[in-house]
Amino acid sequence: MISKVLLAIGLAALMVVTGFSSFIYLGAQHSRAAKPPETPTQATPRAQAFTLPGTLFLVQSGAIYSLSAGRFHQLTAEQGWTQPSIFPDGSKLLVVKRSFFYSDVWVLSRLGRPLSQLTHNIGPARNPDTGVKNWSFYPRLTRDGRTIFMSYDEPKFGYEVDMSIWAMPVAGTIRQARVWTNSNPYTGGDMQPVPLPSGGILYTKYGFGSDQKLGQFVWLTTRAGAVGKALTREGDACAQPALSPNGRQVAMICTSGKQLSRLVIASFNGSSLGALKTVVSDQMVAQPTWAPDGSGIAYLAPAEAAGGFQLWFLPSAAYTPPAPSPSPTPTPTPGGPYSGELSSPSPGATQPPAVVKPIRVTSNVGFDATSPIAWAP
């Protein structure tokens, strides 16, 4: 049995050789590393006085929480609930319930009460093959509320398991569902569909790029079975698209292959994106979500290096250019043009606009960064 001292030395060595910078930092007084996150309803300090409009639904440890008027409420127990989205009429939630071997799509009331189970991915009870079970992830309803788009792991062949985007009638079963996308084999596939008003979908597609490196793309497919096209370049490595309320902008994350993810927005005309504009660059951003009233973008990111994922809000002023101030209109002067000395413009007119930074809404929690934020008006 190796002694504790030697174990500590071994760990220190591991950390040194992997580049650890300040392990056993002698000036540190208290460990912050292993501090577990608090639940949103108990976290201190509480959600800041800054109040977001409407109601947000977020996930931590398999439980769904709502945030409304600055207060969190726990809607479900910690039972694998994740990836909520709002019904178009705002009346209910579409949610995934994840179990050890499979996951299913459920409908919950806005207060978290299970109403119906839409998929049954557990597979035949008497078949011990783990491959007969299925995953459903990231369900989203079309605007008419009649069709669910989701990532679903069919077709699959032995060890090859990839998610494709499927469309399933809300009132139907998975047997009535239709596969929309052809995922690239052995990549993980196609994830996080966003139904478009035009009938197509945006989603994240994983695939091997020109140099055979595995990459990710924001992808557009306009009809079932169509190949579609990449809206972002390989080198940008963008994912998790979110459509703005007016449908004219897309927010997403882009990693460029790094272990950081930028918050990026771009204009969207229904078939292509405009120039990508990075609006948050120094965080590990996840799940950007537009405020229904267009007032900004919420997202998840650690507040400090390697901390739990917190809720942040970026006001629209951070990415919307200020409206140009009206040009001074010459005032007609009785008696003809003024010929005297012009007054200097006021100093305030030439000052650059104030930098608008993201607002951290929570502290000490640990939201599930693989679960999109649902935001109801």
Binding site: M15, S22, Y25, K213, G307, F309
Partner: protein, 296 residues
């Protein structure tokens, strides 16, 4: 299987790769070659084993083998993942997959095998088992990783704390930025069934997790040591001596630039499949110049 043309995977420091083909495989912006004057540089072999209950504790393979070179003078770290299935002469005799060397002669055989085949002087080793990795990550409170793609595996081994270690479970580690506990981090780095690049893809994920552990470790303090030591009891072994402890601790505090970490994975054409027993054959004419450039 489509050829994975990428020979070298690097984040952070930009690197020029010797071209194996007529058209140069220049994956990254060239940077100055490592200086031959690397005072105090040392090389450590990181070994990771599936030490689950399918194996006897003294006869395990090392599915993860990463050579790490630390250059204190330039504050640079280079990580080279060695394919576990690489078909090479084993230091204890015979030819086989390189991950078997440890089972024949423990760390000494693994070090000697790597050293003899790659022509690299290895100063020390650190070995860690499956449970050790889980426990280390859990004790430090988990890690934040930008996972590169969804990792889906319908036949992931259910062999940890299992009464029947030959059973399977389903795994779905979703993609993107996220917080991983030890169990899910292990799933992310261990699964290889649904990866076109198989062990090569897994090697890239292992390096991502190592970097995430490094990031999280910045928040550790001395009071964490007892818990860490307890967590990894029997699951970490090393050749590093007690006398080097102060030196390593002091050195650790000087490494703070993630862009100074090179990551290398030996994809085809540096290696190619078709070896005996599903092994991978090395293309030494390409590998050795690359290795000697970064592990002089």
């Amino acid at each position: 299987m489509p050829a994975a043309a990428t020979a070298l995977e690097v984040t952070g420091q930009t690197v020029s790769v010797p071209s194996p083909s007529a058209s140069p495989t220049l994956l990254f912006t060239p940077s100055p070659s490592p200086s031959p004057q690397q005072t105090g540089a040392f090389t450590v072999l990181l070994l990771g084993s599936d030490d689950d209950s399918k194996f006897s504790s003294d006869h395990v393979l090392t599915q993860s083998m990463i050579l790490v070179r630390v250059v204190p003078s330039t504050k640079q770290v280079t990580m080279l993942s060695i394919p576990r299935d690489l078909y090479v002469p084993i230091s204890t005799g015979g030819i086989g997959k390189i991950d078997g060397a440890y089972s024949y002669g423990r760390a000494a055989a693994a070090m000697a095998t790597v050293s003899q085949n790659f022509g690299v002087k290895i100063n020390d080793y650190v070995w860690i088992g499956l449970l050790g990795l889980i426990h280390v990550i859990d004790v430090i409170g988990g890690i934040d990783v930008v996972t590169s793609n969804p990792v889906l595996d319908d036949y992931y081994p259910l062999d940890i704390n299992s009464s029947y270690p030959f059973d399977y479970q389903r795994v779905a580690v979703l993609a993107g930025p996220q917080h991983l506990d030890g169990t899910h981090a292990l799933q992310y780095v261990r699964s290889r069934h649904n990866d076109l690049q198989s062990d090569f893809g897994r090697s890239q994920r292992q390096q991502q997790v190592l970097l995430a552990i490094r990031q999280k470790a910045k928040q550790l303090s001395p009071e964490d040591i007892p818990d860490l030591a307890k967590a990894i009891g029997g699951e970490v072994k090393t050749s590093i001596s007690l006398s080097r402890m102060p030196q390593l601790v002091a050195l650790a505090a000087t490494f703070d630039d993630p862009d100074a970490i090179r990551q290398i994975v030996l994809l085809p054409p540096y290696t190619h499949g078709g070896g005996p027993g599903g092994s991978v054959r090395p293309n030494w004419s390409l590998i050795l110049p690359l290795v000697h450039q970064y592990f002089p």
